[in-house]
Symmetry: C4
Subunit: 173 residues, 4 copies
Amino acid sequence: MTVGPMNTPEPIPSARWARIRLFAMDVDGILTDGRVFIGSDGTESKAFSVIDGLGLARVREAGTEVAWISGRPSGATAHRAGELKINRLLQGRNDKAAALREILEETGIAPEDTCYMGDDLIDVPALQLAGIGISVPEACDAVRRHADWITARSGGFGAVREICDLILESRDS
Amino acid sequence: MTVGPMNTPEPIPSARWARIRLFAMDVDGILTDGRVFIGSDGTESKAFSVIDGLGLARVREAGTEVAWISGRPSGATAHRAGELKINRLLQGRNDKAAALREILEETGIAPEDTCYMGDDLIDVPALQLAGIGISVPEACDAVRRHADWITARSGGFGAVREICDLILESRDS
Amino acid sequence: MTVGPMNTPEPIPSARWARIRLFAMDVDGILTDGRVFIGSDGTESKAFSVIDGLGLARVREAGTEVAWISGRPSGATAHRAGELKINRLLQGRNDKAAALREILEETGIAPEDTCYMGDDLIDVPALQLAGIGISVPEACDAVRRHADWITARSGGFGAVREICDLILESRDS
Amino acid sequence: MTVGPMNTPEPIPSARWARIRLFAMDVDGILTDGRVFIGSDGTESKAFSVIDGLGLARVREAGTEVAWISGRPSGATAHRAGELKINRLLQGRNDKAAALREILEETGIAPEDTCYMGDDLIDVPALQLAGIGISVPEACDAVRRHADWITARSGGFGAVREICDLILESRDS
């Protein structure tokens, strides 16, 4: 994983964002900066962005499903998902694309109407499956080259909010 | 919410700062960097700046009311407010302008004599209501364009202290 | 407190460092990045740098007294001081210069043989009292202009270690 | 410890990475950003990177031993090592080279087939002993000049993952 120049793909047309009915995403590195704070007493915590939370609430109210798919099971993630009422939370899933496919089958949503956001190699198949694949500036080249768009903000610092706003703006226009 | 070029408004004249009798502000993203640390045991914490705390204490001693208006109820915010003796703490209020208006009515302070500081879309009506509206470099364009001034420091890293110092310096001169 | 251009004072000659028998410092903003993590359960924590800790241990072994003078009483600071065996810990002291003078009287060390490190306005009298006054890049202009030297690293990220190394190198040469 | 220009050594040939049978590393500053979060209740925590964890798991599955050698004993480090199933965890060892030598004797691995990663002066002898010595951009000049390579990413933010990927890529080719 080397840090290379950012690819600069074309902006995604608003009409494609307007189709999105499911916004699924990895957790560590996307909703957080990829760090886990581990305590001497075994507790762990993670830093989530308040502006991401507000954005996800609006996206859901606007009728788009939200799902979190995480490789690493974490009580901190479960608590944050509960607070934001994310009812599609899949943890312990390194097979991101298979997990995403399960959600598509359950909901009857087509892959083309799905946006997936991820930052590591295990996210690549899901980035390819989804109609719109998004990554973050910190992701390695091998991941970013499979993304349709790279957010300006970093994971855990509003990257998810950027995508929420693009989805919401496509509804307004 | 896209990250655009910072608007560079004119510096606010000292005479306008000298009128400020109420300094009201959003919490997440202004007094913090907008991140909530969530633990596997359900506890949450937030990072507040010590220099902001010293600045707010001085502003209050100099006779300016201080108020915090937060959309997201948080025990961490309540503890920090208690430590700094912020007695006007309104939590669970996404209707920032309405909350600000309540404080103005209670205190009899005019909107023109008020400074409000916020970073998200729900803060915009309060930024417009207050005599001086302030935002931070991280805020999105849609918020920053409604601010009279953008701090040099980031939220949670001394942005509030900058405004405290401008208020205090206007008293000295 | 505005963020201005860094002053670039002349490097302090090794002979002056060689005289230092007391290295005293502020805590928040110097040994940390000035942030306090406050939990919903009322606990608080602060982030200290491991390389600072190693540096302070070496300075003390080399015969230089170490003292921490903090305005804000904190259990986190007390625990870190205990771990590093800092026996001169003065908390709840906003009168930094008076506190420093007490240590000088107790130890019989002359102000000229003292280095003080601080980042806020309340630190200025102590910066002026000490033979060598040090600040950090984040400090405001009003503080930095009273410092003999500004560290390259930020408070909480090795700023204290830089000064430890300058003291230790002066002993070797 | 002064912050100097980064040395820019030659890239290490893939054939040298392919020989690595032991990847040993310091903890604070390498697997973390060198900060310890200390609470008012005496608990401590550290921030570990999830992408580093995934990388180390893959390196071990590919048959390379992984060892952590830390100067400062920490429950947080022990918990993270347990989670990642790092069975070679040596804590309280400031004599890093001696600790590394013990592992080499136990495993029968030659120094030339070892990669060591460290960021402080006490790591230098181990950096010199190992076939490949790695440091991070934050390390001081006195350490970096003894390293064969400096990662692009910072300690605690994927520096270890970079090395994991170099080891793994050398196996594929």
